[in-house]
């Protein structure tokens, strides 16, 4: 089975993002970028499937600006086999990404597509579900456990009430949640090796996909700030304040 893993380049999760003063978006210049943490979990899972003999090849794909190649390289250094960059300067929405991924799926014919459940920049949580819809494939979203079987994939999903187990007909889409695994760090030799792994380049036009946005961002602002309050030094004082001042208990 071939596994396709779409990965996204985002602002590093440890960086405090800053809203631009002209309200056009958040500052991306000179900011540390990294692979979306959920995508790292997806790459790790693909590698584990390969190590367990359940997958033969791991193909990474990303859509974005030329620098997104770095994200592919870091996934290749973890252990993926090759990469695909769909290069565009357009700010991509999940629907556009899903259409691009559909075109790649039709070329590559993977048995499983593993995506992150959410990209931590736009917090959309849509792309995997949309890709499944476009392909009319089964989907396991928010997955914390995955087992491949004959013609099917069983997953445990993290849902609002607890856990849910579903069997998906292959080929399938899976979006991964935090507790599926803990991604490995790339070793130095693997980082060197990754430099020689192939990356194919396309544009959205090559794939025949229109990526013009459907949603206009009118403005991006900082949320109202919350001020630090007061310190209390005993339980009695805290309870008193909650009863008399805040009136919440």
């Amino acid at each position: 089975m071939k596994v396709l893993v779409p990965v996204k380049r985002v602002i590093d999760a440890n960086i405090k993002v800053r809203v631009k003063s002209d309200q056009s978006g958040v500052e991306l210049n000179n900011v540390k970028m990294a692979m979306n943490p959920f995508c790292e979990i997806a790459v790790e899972e693909a590698i584990r499937l390969k190590e367990a003999g359940a997958a033969e090849e791991i193909v990474l794909v990303t859509a974005g600006i030329r620098q997104s190649q770095e994200t592919l390289r870091s996934g290749l250094a973890m252990g993926a086999d090759r990469g695909i960059l769909i290069e565009t300067d357009e700010a991509l929405e999940p629907l556009a990404v899903a259409k691009l991924l559909k075109a790649v799926v039709e070329r590559e014919e993977p048995g499983l597509v593993l995506l992150g459940k959410q990209a931590i920049d736009g917090d959309n949580n849509q792309t995997g579900q949309m890709l499944a819809g476009l392909l009319n494939w089964s989907i396991g979203s928010f997955v914390s456990k995955l087992e491949t079987g004959d013609g099917s994939i069983s997953v445990v999903r993290e849902v609002d009430g607890g856990l849910e187990k579903v069997r998906l007909k292959s080929p399938a889409i899976v979006t991964v949640d935090l507790r599926l695994n803990e991604p490995r760090y790339a070793s130095l030799p693997n980082i060197m090796k990754a430099k020689k792994k192939p990356i194919d380049m396309f544009t959205p036009e090559d794939l025949g996909v229109g990526v013009a946005p459907r949603v206009t961002v009118l403005k991006v602002v900082e949320p109202p700030a919350r001020d630090a309050g007061v310190k209390v030094s005993s339980a009695a004082e805290l309870v008193e304040k909650l009863r008399q001042e805040a009136k919440v208990i």
């Binding site: 993002v17 494939w137 989907i139 009118l218 403005k219 309870v239």
Partner: protein, 313 residues
């Protein structure tokens, strides 16, 4: 214009998240239909008919819809969507797994997790873990939207008088099979709609120690939540997680115990009305947003708090 809300329920009762979505729908238009799709869910439709602000209930009762499988529900919702200007669902795991699939099939760019409605095509949504608020305008002819439930009050469950109309199921391909579920049993209020939430973090050190928080929760009628670190460590089940990638809560009172206050955690609770932080590290970032901060070791503070709650006011 009219709005379709997809009801979230378990075939026995409607979930509160649905009521928040109904309120959001009412801010867009007064003509609001509610889709109740399930199996043996006639009682849910009856229950929903008294929700204020709902014009009509569309009831589909079919075994295919027993388990909320998006593969099965999506053709149904897709067929209905063309009659509406907006289709709304709560931004719960239910809404998040269903609505984008429908949107893609309709060639619509869904708008996720909105916290405010400016007009019928312009909405506000948090991005970057709530570090920024984006105002976005949709150009699609039908708008598919998930609702941040904490940003909209629950519609009253009394006083409405919606007509129930039965509709047919839509054939769907057998792509996925529901095998079972392990729901976290709880006698306490639902985390996302509770008036008070008490959450524990890595500082709790073990699952057993969460019993201390549960005792406080029971005194206050609160729900219990957790940070990702506490869930990852296995102290509590996954559905306790509050944050950017867990649940979003905004109770009247949020008590964070042994939680440092990482941005991803704040994303899920910083809209709470009053925030209390109990942490032994006075530098912990949680104190920067807490209305009442108590620098203390939780293992002495929590028993003291329990005793103080018992004492007469």
């Amino acid at each position: 214009m009219s709005v379709l809300v997809i009801a979230e329920h378990d075939n026995a009762e409607v979930r509160t998240a649905t009521l928040n979505a109904v309120t959001a729908a009412g801010e867009i238009d007064t003509d609001v239909d509610l889709l109740v799709a399930g199996s043996g869910c006639g009682g849910v439709a009856d229950e929903c008919s008294s929700i204020q602000g709902v014009t009509r209930i569309l009831l589909v009762d079919d075994p295919a819809y027993e388990h909320d499988l998006p593969e099965n529900l999506s053709p149904l919702v897709q067929g209905l969507a063309e009659r509406y200007s907006h289709v709304l669902a709560p931004a719960s795991t239910f809404g998040k797994s269903l609505l984008p699939r429908v949107a893609a099939r309709l060639d619509v760019q869904q708008i996720s997790d909105i916290s405010d409605i400016e007009s019928s095509d312009t909405f506000v949504r948090p991005i970057y873990a709530g570090n920024a608020l984006a105002t976005v305008q949709s150009t699609d002819s039908v708008k598919l939207i998930t609702i941040r439930t904490t940003a909209f009050d629950a519609a009253p469950t009394e006083g409405g008088d919606a007509a129930i109309e039965k509709i047919e199921a839509v054939p769907c391909p057998a792509l996925a099979e529901f095998l079972g579920q392990e729901l976290t049993p709880s006698e306490r209020p639902e985390l996302t709609s509770a008036g008070i939430v008490i959450s524990g973090g890595r500082g709790m050190q073990s699952g057993e120690n969460f019993a201390m928080l549960e005792r406080i929760a029971d005194k206050l009628g609160a729900a219990v939540g957790a940070s990702r670190a506490a869930v990852d460590a296995g102290y509590v089940p996954n559905d306790y997680q509050v944050g950017q990638t867990g649940k979003v809560v905004a109770p009247n009172l949020y008590i964070a115990v042994g939680i440092s206050g990482a941005i991803q955690h704040l994303a899920g609770m910083k809209d709470s009305k009053v925030i209390v932080a109990i942490n032994k590290d006075e530098e912990a970032p949680i104190f920067q947003i807490a209305d009442y901060g108590w620098v203390a070791d939780l293992f002495t503070a929590i028993p003291e708090l329990e005793a103080a709650l018992d004492a007469d006011p």
